[in-house]
């Protein structure tokens, strides 16, 4: 198990290094410079700015500096906000993103589990049909459309929640719902498929033959067996949340990473783009690692074979 973990962590570091390198060289290929946004500068001004960003040094030197700094959590200075460190920029914005991201994930997954299992237990009834329609809608309606509709109808028209902005739990509700749609749909469909499979298995038939009630069968046997594999989709769900947050934060004017990322993309703020890229990738790697470990812990079959390694 320890060996396995060590190997996984090694791969994680390798992956991050590769991503950092690729990002760096991609950015170097790109046409924009910090000067794009400040026209008409004198030659000496340009020189000062180049020095400030270390752009006057040879490429390999810039690369080494970049990697060394990145390891220390220093991603350079933002082009857009010329005196703000990228790490500071990210740090100041990570809070709101983390809050609505986590809330959206939890809400989506829990609702998804409920609908998915209900739909499997009541397979081929109207409950199943309705759940199916809802999850197909959740899968098909892009988050930005859903967010705009939520904002307009629940924020503007019914005035139930703040239309936009950041401050207090109330302001997180609509963005959370908007973000939850995609993990909800994915979870619901996944759990349904798993559960239908499990409900048709021999051990559920045996549980029935034991005289267990419907409730007992679902809670003691079906749920655990169909939820264990759910761990494997947490990674993709996290990606969905990151993607969603880029537009949802924008629509609801939430000062988070996603909103900043889109802004940085539009103004070619490369240091920030690189910083967020690394952040997102690192986060995903971490989620994948953790879900892998968790999977090993909760599934007895893997737990034991893990010991042998």
């Amino acid at each position: 198990m320890v060996k396995y973990l060590a190997r996984r962590i090694f791969y994680l570091i390798l992956t991050m290094f590769l991503i950092a390198s690729v990002t760096f060289f991609l950015m170097k290929l790109m046409p924009g410079t910090p000067l794009n946004n400040q026209a008409k500068l004198t030659a000496s001004q340009i020189h000062t700015i180049y020095q400030q960003y270390g752009l006057d040094k040879p490429l390999w030197q810039q690369y080494v500096t970049y990697i060394v700094n990145a390891v220390q959590g220093n991603f350079g200075t933002s082009f857009q906000f010329s005196n703000q460190a990228v790490s500071y920029l990210i740090g100041s914005r990570i809070g709101p993103s983390a809050i609505i991201g986590a809330q959206g994930m939890i809400l989506g997954v829990i609702l998804g589990i409920c609908t998915g299992s209900l739909s499997a237990i009541r397979k081929n009834t109207w409950v199943d049909g309705t759940a199916n329609i809802i999850s197909i809608l959740g899968l098909s309606i892009p988050s930005f459309v859903f967010a705009i509709l939520l904002q307009y109808y629940f924020g503007l028209k019914l005035q139930l929640f703040p239309v936009a902005g950041w401050g207090g739990f109330a302001s997180t509700i609509l963005p959370t719902i908007a973000l939850a749609a995609s993990p909800f749909a994915t979870t619901s469909r996944f759990v349904r498929t798993e559960m239908v499979d499990v409900m048709g298995s021999d051990y559920i038939e045996l549980a029935r033959a034991k005289g267990l009630s419907r409730f007992g069968i679902v809670f003691h046997h079906a749920l655990r067996n169909s939820l264990i594999p759910l761990v494997t989709v947490i990674g993709p769900l996290a990606v969905g949340i990151m993607t969603g947050s880029m537009v949802v934060e924008n629509i609801f004017s939430i000062p988070g990473i996603g909103e900043q990322f889109v802004k940085s993309i539009l103004v070619n703020d490369y240091p920030t783009i690189m910083g967020v890229t690394l952040l997102y990738s690192g986060l995903l790697c971490l989620v994948l690692l953790i879900t892998d470990i968790v999977y090993g812990i909760i599934d007895p079959r893997i737990r034991l074979s893990g010991k042998g390694e």
Partner: protein, 340 residues
């Protein structure tokens, strides 16, 4: 039980072999696997309807260069006109909208000639929304289809090679996929689009490049399974070349996996196109795609909701239809019903 039964005289004549009942008659005409799947798909009403909806949408979209030739012709005089269908007098389709608390005929107010009408209204530059949606749908579908095609070529090729070569090659190729999959795909797309800016081709590439890994994994798993099957082994020992074996034995067997995955990839690609266009790094003006149309429309959503509703509805219908069709195909190919 022993009641007397009246029986005809010849009742106990033995029956010759020839006139015996033939129970081994084949009850249903035998069908190939694909025909069977097609049959099951047809029985799935939702999937079948979805398929037709997609065909109809595609027909409308791809004939739009003829039927709607001017998606980009702007006319400031006609800006932000509500939908008007001649002869229909239902609010929302009669060219009126509420302005300052009163319903105003916008066509009259803007001196639009009597003969001129826009079925789905116009946008802020006075371009026909109907024509733009047709055009945008075409662009979105094209991007979705081409991205999926590339994704298919890369993914299937990669998967087959990885499984077929095995050993170190497989290991390295799988590691590469693992690394690819631990980068959020949106990040890959954004980075790529920053390097190769604008235009339809870069978007297609960007989308294809992050979608192929799933296809590669599925193909690899399936190939590994097939590889150990006897007829493939036999072909191998008979000295058929790897390429030939792949074409003759693997691809047909992979077809169901590929078809199903393709159906899931197309809507994903359409979604990403819309997403990228929406955040402003996708399709560039004046070309329309469903994503840019929604982005344009949402600015005025409060006052001219139709400008976002229409493209959004078209996008949603396409996505829903593809997803239902994909579900249906999965069930049709795997009657035991779907695992992934």
């Amino acid at each position: 039980m022993d009641e007397k039964i009246k029986l005809p005289e010849d009742a106990f004549q033995p029956v010759g072999k020839d006139d015996k009942l033939d129970d081994e008659k084949i009850a249903a005409p035998s069908r190939t696997f694909l025909q069977d799947a097609w049959h099951r798909l047809k029985e799935n009403k939702a999937a079948f309807i979805s398929m037709w909806i997609l065909i109809i949408i595609a027909l409308f979209a791809f004939t739009s260069p003829i039927t709607a030739p001017n998606p980009n012709s702007a006319n400031p005089d006609y800006a932000n006109l509500p939908p008007k269908i001649p002869g229909v007098n239902i609010n929302g389709f009669n060219g009126t909208s509420i302005q300052g608390g009163q319903r105003v005929d916008q066509y009259k107010a803007n001196n639009v000639p009597e003969s001129k009408h826009f079925i789905l209204g116009t946008d802020y530059l006075g371009r026909s929304l109907g024509q733009r949606i047709l055009h945008g749908t075409m662009i979105s579908l094209l991007i979705g289809l081409f991205a999926t095609l590339i994704d298919l070529l890369i993914g299937v090729g990669y998967g087959i090679i990885s499984a077929w070569k095995g050993g170190v090659v497989d290991l390295v190729m799988q590691r590469i996929i693992e690394i690819m999959q631990s980068i959020p795909n949106i990040v890959i797309m954004v980075l790529l689009l920053l390097v190769i800016k604008g235009g339809i081709l870069p978007i297609i590439l960007a989308i294809a490049i992050n979608e192929w890994t799933t296809m590669a994994r599925l193909t690899r798993a399936q190939t590994l399974q097939l590889k150990s099957q006897e007829y493939v082994l036999a072909a191998q020992t008979l000295g058929e070349s790897s390429g030939k074996i792949a074409m003759k034995h693997l691809l047909p067997n992979l077809s169901s996996v590929i078809i199903i995955q393709t159906m899931f990839t197309i809507p994903a690609a359409i979604f990403f196109e819309a997403f990228l266009s929406y955040i402003g790094i996708g399709i560039q003006a004046p070309i329309a795609s469903l994503g840019t149309l929604i982005n344009d429309g949402q600015r005025n959503f409060q006052f001219l909701p139709f400008q976002m509703w229409y493209p959004a509805i078209v996008l949603a219908i396409i996505m829903i239809a593809f997803n239902i069709l994909a579900d249906g195909l999965r069930d049709a190919f795997d009657p035991r019903t779907s695992r992934h």
